[in-house]
Structures are given as structure tokens and as C-alpha cells.
């Protein structure tokens, strides 16, 4: 754990019931950094993010957020500590309107927090399409709009660490580009981002650093450029089956 890391994961283990999935996973994230976590389907990326967000209780190891031990903390408390997750599959409140989804994103903040309105404007500026859709049920949005809403909703908690689980999944290249543009602008405003992606090339091209996860363990770590050059990574994750998307 480096002293300037905003999020430090030390030898984390987690699983489902008696099935162990993560073994001794150590990852860290510096303030204002975007780190990518790549790996094949089933490697344990979602399990890691769910453990970090508090949805899954780790069976071993430690998680530090801004220097405080938050291991095993419940999700409803973690979001108040500044950690927000954009979960796999988005998990929007489908029958509720776009505005209601965004307001729920701010649920963790004090009732009369003036800055909630400011953040609502900020999210609207990042994703103007959400303004047009504000009174529509979230379920009626296109896939790309839903992903934007999922990111916007997470931002409404005013997080300092943003965890994203495969935000590009199933989206058109143009939409993916839009979302990554927003992520990079958020990073430049100081947000720390841990990004899980199956599209390794996409993730590593945008991230400052990356980790490669294999069967519940961190197999490789390095800068985005290093990993893109790495033979194993090229062979396994950037092979012909994983064409770059634009």
C-alpha cells in the first residue's frame, strides 16, 4: 500500500458460500488515477468490485479507503464514505423515471444538501440526453442511455472513488467513446476510477495503469502501455477474437 493511494486492497479473499473466488488480491488506486482491471469472463472481476462496494463480505484481507479500514463495511455506509459502484448490468430502477433514479443516487447525502442540485446540473451537462429523458422510466432508455444514467446515478452520490463494471458491454462504438470521454474528464477533475473491462484494448488505452486478473488472482500489473506491449496480454486478451472496437 502506497501512502498516497485513495483505495488500497490488501490480500483480499472472497467467494460465494464455500466457493472461494478471489485469492489474495492486492490492488491499489492513487487519487485521480484511472486503473483498469481486465481478465477473461469468470476471472473474478465482478466479485472484486462487489466486495469493494460492500455487497459481498470478504473472507480475508483488508480494504482501505482514504486511509480508513472499510473492510466488510455495508454498502449503504460505504457510499457515504465516498465509494460508488456502477454495477454489472447497471441495476437501474427500471420503472422509475430518470430523475428519480438520479435522486436515488443522491439518497446517501443530507436531505437539504444544496450541492445535490449542483451535481444534478453537472450530470445533466455530462449527459445531456438524460435531460430529454428526465421523466421517462429508466427501462425505456436505449442501452447507451441506460449506461449513462447508471454512471450519472453513481456520480450523484458525489463519490471520490468510482468503480465501474464493464460499462462498454453491448454498446455501440460511438456511445462507448462518449462514455470514455466522460470518464476521462471526471478523472481530470480528480475522481479516482477503477474500471473493469473485458475489452482489454479499450481499457488499457485509456487507463493510467492496469491489472490482469486470472482465476481469482492478479496475474500481471503495469502501466497501460506496458500491458498492451506484454506478450501474454497480447496473446490472451488482445488476440484475433478481441478485435479493437474503433
Amino acid at each position: 500500500m502506497t501512502s498516497d493511494s485513495i483505495l488500497a486492497v490488501e490480500r483480499l479473499s472472497a467467494g460465494y458460500g464455500r466457493v472461494a473466488v478471489l485469492r489474495d488480491v492486492s490492488v491499489d488506486l492513487a487519487a485521480g488515477e484511472m486503473v483498469a482491471l481486465i481478465g477473461a469472463n469468470g476471472a473474478g472481476k465482478t466479485t472484486l468490485l462487489r466486495s469493494l462496494a460492500g455487497l459481498l463480505k470478504p473472507s480475508g484481507g483488508r480494504v482501505w479507503l482514504e486511509g480508513a479500514d472499510v473492510t466488510g463495511m455495508a454498502p449503504e455506509r460505504l457510499v457515504r464514505q465516498g465509494m460508488a459502484l456502477v454495477p454489472e448490468g447497471r441495476m437501474l430502477f427500471g420503472p422509475m423515471t430518470v430523475t428519480e433514479n438520479l435522486l436515488l443516487g443522491a439518497h446517501s447525502r443530507p436531505r437539504r444538501d444544496e450541492s445535490v442540485r449542483t451535481d444534478m446540473d453537472r450530470v445533466s451537462a455530462l449527459f445531456p440526453v438524460l435531460v430529454e429523458r428526465s421523466s421517462q422510466p429508466a427501462a425505456t432508455l436505449s442501452g447507451g442511455e441506460q449506461q449513462m444514467l447508471a454512471v450519472g446515478r453513481a456520480l450523484m452520490s458525489s463519490p471520490r472513488v468510482l468503480l465501474l463494471d464493464e460499462p462498454s458491454l453491448g454498446l455501440a462504438p460511438k456511445v462507448i467513446a462518449d462514455i470514455f470521454r466522460v470518464l476521462k474528464s471526471l478523472r481530470s477533475e480528480g475522481l479516482s476510477i477503477l474500471l473493469v473491462e473485458q475489452d482489454a484494448r479499450l481499457a488499457l488505452r485509456h487507463a493510467d495503469r492496469g491489472y490482469v486478473m486470472r482465476t481469482g488472482e492478479i496475474a500481471l500489473a503495469g502501466t497501460g502501455a506496458q500491458l498492451l506491449e506484454n506478450d501474454d496480454v497480447r496473446h490472451i486478451y488482445l488476440g484475433a477474437r478481441h478485435d479493437s472496437r474503433g
Partner: protein, 292 residues
Amino acid sequence: MGSAELLQYVVAGFKSGAIYALVALGFTLVYGSTGIINFAQGEFFMLGGVLSVFYYRLGLPLLLAALAGVVTTAGVGLAFERLALRPRRDAGALVLIIITIGGSMVMKSLTRHIFGPDEATLPEFTPGPSIAFGGVAIERQALWLWGLTIVAVLALTWLYRKTRFGRAMRACSLSHDAARLMGIDTARVVMVSFGLAAALGALAGLAVTPLTQTAWDVGATAGMKGFAAAILGGLGNPVASVIGGLVLGLLESLSVAFLSSTYKDAIALIVLLIVLFLRPQGLIGRARREKV
């Protein structure tokens, strides 16, 4: 049958229907936040009547006794969730449902033990002769019943649609995990929905007591009717539950008019089975949502 006579049956149907609607709302609230059927819901109906009678006999003015009955029953609902269900909340839906059945038995026997086996009643809220309206006689207490149902439904709709807590309740009914990620204390939402469900059941139970009397054993029938109403309308949707209640009351009453009163209590069961076979999402409900 003359049209006035038919109308009288319709009025009677809406009278029971309002009761079923309130009990059904209790089922819907708990199902919404937990995904389980609370088989103790009928006992909240029973407790509302029995406890109001208790407070009334202590000497409280009628409306105050009724309020105390509702509040005490709500307290029972909160305590039941906190003490009996929450400790086992990870055990899965089936275990929780069985706990509600056990809880219902406990509430019933304790009530019999504490308040005795006899039937009891309350005076009408505003005593007086029935009101004649288009050839139909409407009891004053029935107007109270409808009034209270309307107020309860409006209050609940306002809570659901307009308040922050209501928004959290709806989020909870869609996905506990997603709700928790938003910072919603889902355990608290679940407990409050039990409290509200108990209050609604109690309200129905005490408002109907002047018409039908109450006793320790009235919960089972009320619970079954309310459950059938909730299923008929579409479980988990408050407006649908109310409509389900009214439709069920009407069907029962019309079956008395056109068939025989023998079948009245079987109607709810028949409706329940037909709906479960043909349209499990209810008349109004959409296909059931995934629970997390």
C-alpha cells in the same frame, strides 16, 4: 331482481371490498419490500379490532381508542419484523414465510389468552339510522369505512410518489442490492413496511368491528380474503391491490345475489386459484419482477 335491490348488493360488495383492499395493501407493502407473503397480515386486522375494543373499554373516547389500536398494532408489526424475521433474513423466502405463519399462530393464541375468547364490538363512529340513497340504504359506518380507505390509499400514494422515504421503498421493492448501493438502509425500509402493513390491517379491522364484531379468531378469513384480493389485483402494486379488493367484494356480493350465500366465502378461494392458474401477475400487475 329490481335495480335498487341489485344496487344494495353492489353497496354491500364495496363495503367488504374496502376491507379487503386495506388488508391487501398490507400484503402488497410487505411483498414489495421483501418479496415474501406475510401470513400474519390477517392477525393485524384482528389486533386492530380487539385492541381498539380494549382501549375503548378502558374509557378512551372512541376515535382515540381506534387510534391507539392502530398505533399499538403498528408497534406489533415493527416488533414482529425486528425480533422474528430480521434475525433470519438471510435464510431465504420460504423460511421467512413459515415464520410469518408461526407468528400468526402466536399472535392469535396470545390474544385469546390475554383478551379472552368472546366476541366484542365497538359502537358505530357516528351512530344513527342508515342513509337512504337512490332506494339503497347505506350504513353510516360504511361511509367511514370508505372514507378511511380513500384516505389510507391517498396517504400511501403520497408517501410512495412524493416522499424521499417512499422513493427508497420503491427502490427497495425493485432490488435490495441496488437500493443499498444508493445508501438506502433496506433493513429499516423492510421494518417500516411491516409497521405500515400492520397499521392498514388494524384500520380495516377496527373500522368494520361495529358492523361485524371482532374476536381473536377473525384474522384467518380476513387474511385469506386480503391475500386473494392482492393476488387478483397484482401483488406489489398498491392501486391494483385496492382494485382487487373492490372486485373481490363485488364478486362475493353478486354471488350471494345470483347464486347462494353458501358460496360467498368460497369465492375468494376460487378467484385465487383461477388467477394463479391463468394470470399469476394479477389483473393489473405486469409480469413479476426479478427479486434480488
